[in-house]
């Protein structure tokens, strides 16, 4: 089998799983369907490993540089000789990296779900949705064309909608699914307009043509797009900010983050796959794809990305410290970590020594996928055993759930950035990049990083310590190997993922980049991380009233953070009070009175008219002939008069 076929097969295997389980699911026994999905995904994982090996060690390398490898090119919608929308698959360092992340986490989640979703109604449907999602996500990362990416972008949105609303008998799940769909759809409007502006300016939708035309200094396309300006920003800056709005919607950046915490209504493995490791980093991937254009053509847009990321990182970390539902804590943690990735991209620039942030952000994406998926799967195992999402129902679980305990601890250490776990390396790279270029973002990131260690260990101690273990606890670990093995494999990633020389593979220019780890930079973040872990241990290891007293001291600030800084309420105010009243009501009035009125008046007029003249049709034959005869006579008279 040639490499081209292998690459094509990777997204097609999950599609096959979706079609098989979705169309023929009724004829496949429930026990079998999960296995089919997992085996197909496992095959895709193996193929991606083969592809990654081939790409990084033979076909992708030209000299010391990685170059894109294109395959399966198809001229799809030619508009004119100049502009067409093509389909195709591309391998380059970031898409191969995403390929590995998506297939690995997806396979783990498929296997884990064999245990977690056992006995669920619609088990087969669940697996077909997972297949659809994985297909769309793989299509998204392999797209060569921004329009093709947009198509898959919407497809992941749909599968996310289907999976959040999987328990559709719960009204809250339905509401959450709708919210996720509407918020991301709203953001995608910006994305679409951005795409059209880029296409209009560069006469192409192809990523590499776009990059070539819009990031080469002196190119005529670049000059046109940066020449025209609106409200003090160039067309290109506007286009990229609009594209970023789409990315911010999917990646749950402030103020479009409101859907992600609610999305936790879906099954927990889905949260691990879609809302932690893969779909929500699509925004990061999008910015990384267009990075040369951002960096060369519109540094202002990149600065916006940086500030939005940094603010969101801190904002979400603050909220995560106050939540009591473990999945909500993890959701806000995800938002915060994606903020880290984006501000890492935002502080990067173009030119020697400035691109470190690019590699750092994607490195964090890579490590985050494994430890955050692990945290979610651990949370799933706990919820499976305790039958509750609330922290207060847990506590003292370290004895009864040893494997979950250890893996969760490893993931918590990784996300806190404690050496030598995976998160340490990527976070250090981010901090080092930020410190060099933007001190403000660096300090904001540092505070957010400290809070990260605090909230995750608050979670850890509340779940596994806090109360004395119950001697006859009923919530022991159910010996589900299907659930434990993926957690162990992910734990391996969370522990050792950082030792991969990531800069050798992924960099903005394609040339290897050394990510420096200097002792002087390490001390402060790690020291703060350890301090906050100690603080969390003191506060939450045993039951005490100290946390409550701190809460009372903080007063209003705590309440605001607990209520998620009232962002949802602001949205409700804007939609219910302003949008509905100012736009919805007049539109409804117009519809009811003008549109409906016209239609109904036409109908009633016709009825009145026909009532008035219906007597003519009497059913009397001789009356009809009389009319006829009268008509004939009339014509005769007319003819005679005319010819006379």
């Amino acid at each position: 089998m040639t490499l081209d076929n292998i690459i094509l097969l990777i997204p097609l295997l999950p599609l096959l799983s979706f079609l098989l389980l979705g169309l023929a699911g009724k004829h496949i026994s429930v026990r079998f369907s999960g296995v089919i999905g997992s085996v197909l995904l496992g095959a895709a994982l193996v193929l991606s490993l083969v592809t990654a090996y081939d790409y990084f060690f033979s076909i992708g390398k030209q000299g010391s540089e990685f170059v894109p490898y294109l395959t399966a090119q198809l001229n799809w919608l030619p508009f004119n000789t100049d502009l067409s929308i093509n389909l195709g698959l591309v391998l380059d360092p970031i898409s191969v990296m995403m390929l590995l992340v998506v297939t690995f986490v997806s396979t783990m989640v498929h296997i884990y779900s064999l245990g977690y979703m056992k006995g669920e109604e619609r088990f087969t449907t669940y697996y077909s949705y997972l297949g659809l999602f994985t297909f769309s996500m793989l299509g998204l990362v392999l797209s060569t064309n921004i329009f093709q990416m947009y198509i898959f972008w919407e497809l992941v949105g749909v599968s996310s909608y289907l999976l959040i609303g999987f328990y559709f008998s719960r009204p809250s799940a339905v509401a959450a699914a709708k919210k996720a769909f509407i918020v991301t759809r709203f953001a995608d409007l910006g994305f679409l307009i951005g795409i059209l502006m880029l296409g209009h300016g560069a006469h192409s939708f192809d990523f590499f043509t776009l990059i070539e035309r819009l990031s080469t200094p002196g190119s005529s396309y670049l000059a046109t797009m940066t020449g025209a300006s609106f409200l003090g920003m160039s067309t290109l800056t506007w286009a990229l900010i609009l594209v970023f709005i789409g990315g911010a919607g999917k990646s749950a950046m402030f103020p479009l983050h409101i859907w992600l915490p609610d999305a936790m209504e879906g099954p927990t493995p889905v949260s691990a796959l879609i809302h932690a490791a893969t779909m929500v980093v699509a925004g990061v991937y999008l910015v990384a794809r267009l990075f040369p254009i951002f960096a060369v053509g519109a540094p202002d847009a990149l600065t916006v990305v940086g500030y939005v990321g940094a603010f969101t990182a801190l904002f979400a970390a603050t909220i995560a410290c106050t939540q009591t539902d473990i999945k909500k804590v993890l959701a806000y943690s995800t938002i915060s970590q994606i903020g880290f990735m984006l501000f890492a991209l935002g502080v990067a620039g173009w030119g020697p020594g400035k691109t470190e942030g690019f590699t750092a952000g994607l490195f964090h994406l890579f490590t985050h996928a494994s430890f955050k998926a692990l945290l979610f799967l651990g949370a799933g195992a706990i919820i499976h055993a305790v039958h509750s999402n609330e922290m207060k129902d847990m506590g003292g679980l370290r004895k009864s759930m040893p494997i979950t305990h250890i893996t969760f601890l490893l993931a918590a250490l990784a996300i806190s950035g404690i050496p030598p776990f995976a998160g340490f390396f990527s976070k250090e790279a981010i901090f080092s990049a930020a410190e060099q270029s933007n001190p403000l973002i660096y300090w904001v990131g540092l505070i957010a990083g400290t809070l990260t260690a605090f909230y995750i260990f608050r979670l850890y101690f509340m779940i596994f310590w806090h109360k004395t273990p119950d001697a006859h606890a009923h919530n022991h670990e159910k010996g589900e190997w299907a659930m434990m093995i993926p957690m162990m494999l992910l734990a391996v990633g969370a522990v050792f993922g950082g030792f991969i020389p990531f800069g050798d593979f992924v960099s903005a220019t394609g040339k290897p980049l050394e990510l420096p780890i200097e002792l002087s930079h390490i001390i402060l973040p790690v020291g703060l991380g350890v301090l906050s872990i100690v603080a969390a241990a003191v506060l939450y290891r045993k039951e005490s009233d100290v946390p409550q007293r701190i809460v009372n001291t903080l007063g209003g600030f705590y309440r605001a953070a607990y209520r998620k800084f009232y962002v949802d309420e602001i949205y409700l105010f804007i939609t219910k009070k302003i949008v509905f009243n100012l736009m919805g009501r007049p539109a409804a009035w117009f519809d009811r009175n003008v549109v409906d009125g016209t239609v109904q008046k036409t109908g009633s007029l016709t009825i009145a008219l026909s009532n008035a003249i219906k007597r003519v049709q009497s059913g009397k034959l001789q009356a009809y002939t009389m009319y006829f005869f009268g008509g004939v006579l009339l014509m005769v008279v007319l003819l005679l008069y005319k010819f006379a």
Binding site: S618, K620, L621, T625, M626, F629
Partner: protein, 104 residues
């Protein structure tokens, strides 16, 4: 031999025609109405023959038309009788006033 003037024949056919129309409008019995229609047709036949004879004596179109009309009228009568029989079976009458269900 002196011929009958054309005007006489036309007066005859007109009289026949209006008799037919009058009968068609005033009689309630469908059979009688059918007979009135036959009168109208015959008045037309007389017209054809008369014009053929007086205006184009060397041609035969009018005569042929008359033959056609007689044939068609025969067919039409058989059809009309069939309809009337069916109506009689349904309404138990041949009074045209009673047969007025096809209305608004």
């Amino acid at each position: 031999m002196e011929q009958v003037p054309l005007a006489h024949l036309l007066i005859l056919s007109s009289a026949l025609f209006f008799l037919g129309v009058y009968g068609f409008f005033t009689r309630r019995n469908m059979i009688t109405m059918l007979m009135s229609v036959e009168l109208i047709l015959n008045s037309v036949n007389i017209n054809f023959i008369a014009f053929n004879k007086y205006l184009f004596p060397n041609q035969l179109e009018g005569i042929f038309f008359t033959l056609f009309i007689i044939a068609v009228a025969a067919a039409e009568v058989s059809l009309a009788i069939a309809i009337i029989i069916n109506l009689f079976r349904k309404f138990n009458t041949v009074d045209v006033e009673e047969v007025d269900t096809m209305k608004f």
